[in-house]
C-alpha cells in the first residue's frame, strides 16, 4: 500500500546509500562469524502448525521443523522417500506406504505409524478447522497395518496424492499433538526435521537451531548452518536496508528495480529465480457478466493479441520469467502446450477483431487486480492502445476474490502458485471445474479436467489435460501471461540455491 508509491524513489535512494555503504564501512559479518543465517521475512506467521497457517514462511518452516512422508527433489523432479521409504497403489483409492525406522522427534519420541494415522485423521476432520482444507480434504482416513506400515484411503480417485503428500503434509508426534493441539504445537513445535525451534516471539522473530540427531539416509542433507533466525520486517525497503547494513543475511521477494540496484553493492549477491507462480487474465463470460461484450470470443481474442507479453517479461517482470501460452506452470504434470493456439502481439489484428465484433471505437470495462500494480498498469496501457478503456480496480486479495466470486469482475488479473504443487490438478482445475472462481462454466472443459484429475493412468491424464488446456486457450477464457520470478538478495559469502517452489533450504546452505 504505502510501499507501492515510494518504490521508484526508494530505488533511487537504494542506489545512493549503496554507494554510502560500500564506501564507508564493511558491514558486520555476524552471520558468517557464528555460522548462522539471519533471514528477514515480510509476513509474520500466526500459527506455526503447517495445517493452521497459509503464509509463505509457514510453508518454509514446515520443511525445516518437520518432515513429510515423501520428498520431491526440486532438481530431478522425482519423488524420494522421506519419512516413508516406499509406496504403492493397492487400488485406485488406497495408497500403502512403508515407513522409515529409527527416526526420532525433537522430544525423543520415536516416529511410527501411530503418528501418521493420528496427524492425518485429525487434520482431515472438518471440526479441526484446518486452514487450507484443499490440501487435506481428499483424505478419507488412514489405517495402521503394523508399526511401520500405513494405508491412506482417499475419498475418490486422486492421482495427485503423492504430490500433495510431498507438499506441507507434515507428520506430528501423536502423543504430544493430542495433548497440546495446534495451539500448543505452534507455541512449542516438535517435529522430526533438520532444525528445532528454540524461541518464538509471536510477530517478531523465530529462532531455529540445527537438530544434531536428524536422521541420516534421507533426501534432505544434514545441515551445516547452526542457527537460523527469521525476523519479521514488514517493509521491503527496511529489509533491504538491513541486508545492506549487515543486519540480515538473506531476503527474498525484493522488488525488481531495487534488486537491480542492489547488484551494485560489492558485499551482496542478487539472484533471480523463476517460481511456480504464474499470472493470467480471466474473463467473466457467464450470463450475468458485468461486461456482456466479453461473451463474444472475438473481443476476448482481441485482448489476447493486444498485450505484448514478451516486452513486459523483458523489461518489467524480471529476469527468469517467461511468457506462457497455457495457464499452468511448465513443470506441472499435465501442463501441455502443444495443440494450444499462440496469440502473438498484434494490436492491428486486435483492433480488427474488435471492429468485427461491433466495437470499432473500443469500449470501457473494469479490470480487477490485487498485486504487481506496475505490471497491471502496463497491461492497461496496451489495452488503451487498441481502444479498450480499462478502469483499474486495485484491491486487497480478499476484496478482489469476493468481487470475482460475486460476478462483479469482468476482467481479473490473477496470480496462482498452485500451493507449489507440481500437478495441474492444483492449478488450472481450480478455475474451470464449476467452482466459485470458475467464471466460464464450460461443460466440455469441465469434463476433461475431471477426467484428468481422477484417472490414475498418466497417459490418460496427460491427454485429457492437453485437450482441456487447448480448449481454454482457443476459446480465450483466459489469457496466460507469464511466470513470476523472485529476487533474492543475500550476503555474498552465503552459498545457496534458489528453487522454483520458493522454499529456501537452510539445511543445504553454507558459508564460503
Amino acid at each position: 500500500m504505502i510501499i507501492a508509491g515510494v518504490g521508484k524513489l526508494a530505488a533511487l535512494f537504494a542506489a545512493i546509500i549503496i554507494f554510502f555503504a560500500s564506501a564507508l564501512a564493511t558491514p558486520a559479518a555476524a552471520g558468517k562469524r557464528d555460522n548462522s543465517v539471519r533471514f528477514a521475512e515480510e509476513q509474520a506467521v500466526d500459527n506455526l502448525d503447517p495445517y493452521f497457517n497459509n503464509v509463505r514462511i509457514g510453508v518454509i518452516l514446515a520443511h525445516h521443523i518437520w518432515d513429510t512422508l515423501i520428498y520431491r527433489d526440486p532438481n530431478a523432479g522425482e519423488y524420494k522417500g522421506e519419512l516413508a521409504t516406499s509406496w504403492k497403489w493397492i487400488d485406485d483409492r488406497t495408497l500403502e506406504l512403508e515407513l522409515r525406522q529409527g527416526v526420532k522427534f525433537h522430544n525423543g519420541a520415536e516416529f511410527d505409524a501411530d503418528d501418521v494415522v493420528y496427524t492425518f485423521n485429525f487434520v482431515s476432520k472438518p471440526e479441526s478447522k484446518a486452514i487450507t482444507t484443499q490440501l487435506v480434504d481428499w483424505i478419507d482416513r488412514v489405517e495402521k497395518l503394523d508399526r511401520y506400515k500405513v494405508r491412506i484411503h482417499t475419498k475418490h480417485s486422486f492421482p495427485a496424492a503423492l504430490e500433495y503428500l510431498a507438499a506441507t503434509l507434515v507428520i506430528h508426534p501423536h502423543e504430544y499433538y493430542a495433548k497440546v493441539g495446534p495451539k500448543g504445537m505452534s507455541e512449542k513445535p516438535i517435529g522430526t526435521g533438520p532444525y528445532r525451534v528454540v524461541e518464538h516471539a509471536l510477530g517478531k522473530y523465530i529462532r531455529l537451531v540445527r537438530n544434531p540427531d536428524y536422521f541420516t539416509g534421507g533426501p534432505k542433507a544434514q545441515p551445516t548452518i547452526d542457527k537460523v533466525e527469521v525476523r519479521f520486517i514488514p517493509d521491503r525497503q527496511t529489509q533491504l536496508a538491513e541486508v545492506l547494513s549487515g543486519g540480515a543475511d538473506f531476503i527474498k521477494n525484493v522488488p525488481v528495480d531495487q534488486a537491480r540496484q542492489a547488484r551494485a553493492a560489492p558485499h551482496l549477491q542478487v539472484i533471480s529465480a523463476e517460481i511456480m507462480r504464474y499470472a493470467f487474465m480471466q474473463f467473466d463470460t457467464l450470463d450475468n457478466t458485468p461486461a456482456p461484450m466479453l461473451r463474444d470470443v472475438r473481443v476476448r481474442q482481441a485482448v489476447m493479441h493486444a498485450i505484448d507479453r514478451d516486452a513486459m517479461v523483458k523489461s518489467i517482470v524480471g529476469e527468469g520469467s517467461r511468457v506462457l501460452h497455457v495457464p499452468c506452470f511448465p513443470t506441472q504434470f499435465g501442463c501441455i502446450d502443444e495443440g494450444a493456439p499462440h496469440f502473438a502481439y498484434d494490436p492491428a489484428k486486435a483492433k480488427r477483431l474488435l471492429a468485427d465484433a461491433g466495437f470499432p471505437d473500443g469500449f470501457a470495462v473494469d479490470l480487477y487486480a490485487y498485486r504487481d500494480r506496475d505490471q497491471v498498469e502496463a497491461m492497461i496501457g496496451y489495452l488503451r492502445a487498441v481502444g479498450i478503456r480499462a478502469n483499474l480496480r486495485f484491491l486487497q486479495y480478499a476484496a478482489f476474490d469476493t468481487a470475482v466470486r460475486g460476478g462483479k469482475a469482468p476482467i481479473a488479473v490473477w496470480t496462482w502458485g498452485s500451493f507449489s504443487i507440481n500437478d495441474v490438478s492444483a492449478g488450472v482445475s481450480n478455475f474451470h471445474k464449476g467452482q466459485a472462481d470458475d467464471v466460464n462454466r464450460d461443460g466440455e472443459v469441465r469434463k476433461l479436467l475431471e477426467r484428468g484429475d481422477a484417472a490414475l493412468d498418466p497417459e490418460v491424464r496427460k491427454s485429457a489435460y492437453a485437450k482441456a488446456l487447448a480448449l481454454i486457450t482457443e476459446r480465450a477464457y483466459v489469457l496466460p501471461l507469464y511466470s513470476i520470478p523472485v529476487y533474492y538478495v543475500a550476503t555474498k559469502d552465503l552459498v545457496f540455491n534458489a528453487y522454483a517452489d520458493e522454499i529456501p533450504r537452510f539445511w543445504e546452505m553454507s558459508w564460503k
Binding site: I17, L24, V55, G203, K204, R231, P234, T238, Q396
Partner: protein, 305 residues
Amino acid sequence: MLAYTLKRIGLAALVAIAVSAVAFLLLRASGDVAVALAGEGASAESVEAIRQAYRLDRPLALQYFEWVGKTLRGDFGESLYFKTDVLALVADKMPTTAWLALFSLVFALAISLPLGIVAALYPNSLIDRLCLALAVLGQALPNFFFALVLIMVFAVGFHLLPVSGSESWENFVLPSVALGYYVAPPFMRLIRTGMIEVMASDYIRTARAKGLSGASIVLKHALRNALVPVVALAAVQLGLLLGGSVVIETVFALDGLGYLAYQSISHLDLPVTQAVVTLLSFIYVGLTLAADLVNAWLDPRIRIG
C-alpha cells in the same frame, strides 16, 4: 466548571461509541473476512467452513451488540489471525507504542522549544524564516519517507544505529526522530506566537525595567506563560502520534500497537482491529477532553461557550 466537565465527558463518550460503531461497519464493508482468513487460493468450501466456524454469517447488528456486551465486561474476544486473547495481545504491544509516543513527544518538544523561542525573539528576521522553513518541512515531508532517509543515512551509511527491531533503547532513536519531527511544527508555531505575545506584555517590560537578565526573563518569566496552551496541544498531538505510529512502526519493524493495527487490517482480523481502534479512539478522546478541561480551567470564558 462541573456542568461543563460533565457535558464534555458525555460528548466524549458519545464520540468514542460512534467511532467504534463506524469502525465496525467499515471493517466488514472492506472485504469478506472469511475469504481473508482462508487465504489466497482457498476454495469456496474452505471459505464457507471458516465462515461457519467463526460465526461470521450472523446479522451485523447482532455481531456488533454482542461485541459491545462482551467489551463492557472486559472480554475483547480472540484474534482471528493470532488465535490469542485480544486484550493480552494489545497489552503486550502497548508499552512499545507508549514509549515511542513518549520519546517522540520529548524529541518534538526538544526541537520546537529552542526553535520557537529563537523565532519569537527575532521575529520576521532571517532566523525566524529559517525556523519556519524547518517547521514547514516537518509537516510537508511524509513521515515514512523521512524515516527511510534516516535509516539510509544513520543506520546503513554510518552504522550508528540499528535499522529495525525493538530490542533496546537504540532502536527507538530513529523512529522517535521520524515521528517527533512530524508533530513538532505546530508546537514551534504555538510557542513562537505565545512568546511574541507574552514578550510584548506589561509585566515583561517591568521585569526588564527591574534589570533582570535576558535569559531569566525569557526562560523564567515569559516561557512559563507561553507554555500553557502548549500543554493542551501536547495532549492532542499525543493522539496524532499514536496514529502516526502505524506507519513508523511498520517501517522500523517495531512490534507495537500501530504495527498490530496494520497487520490486523491487512488480515481483516476484526476483533483485533476493533479493539485497537476502540482503544486508540478512547485514548485520543480522553486526551482531547483533558486538553479542553485544562483550557477551560485556565480561561473561564471557554466554559460559557
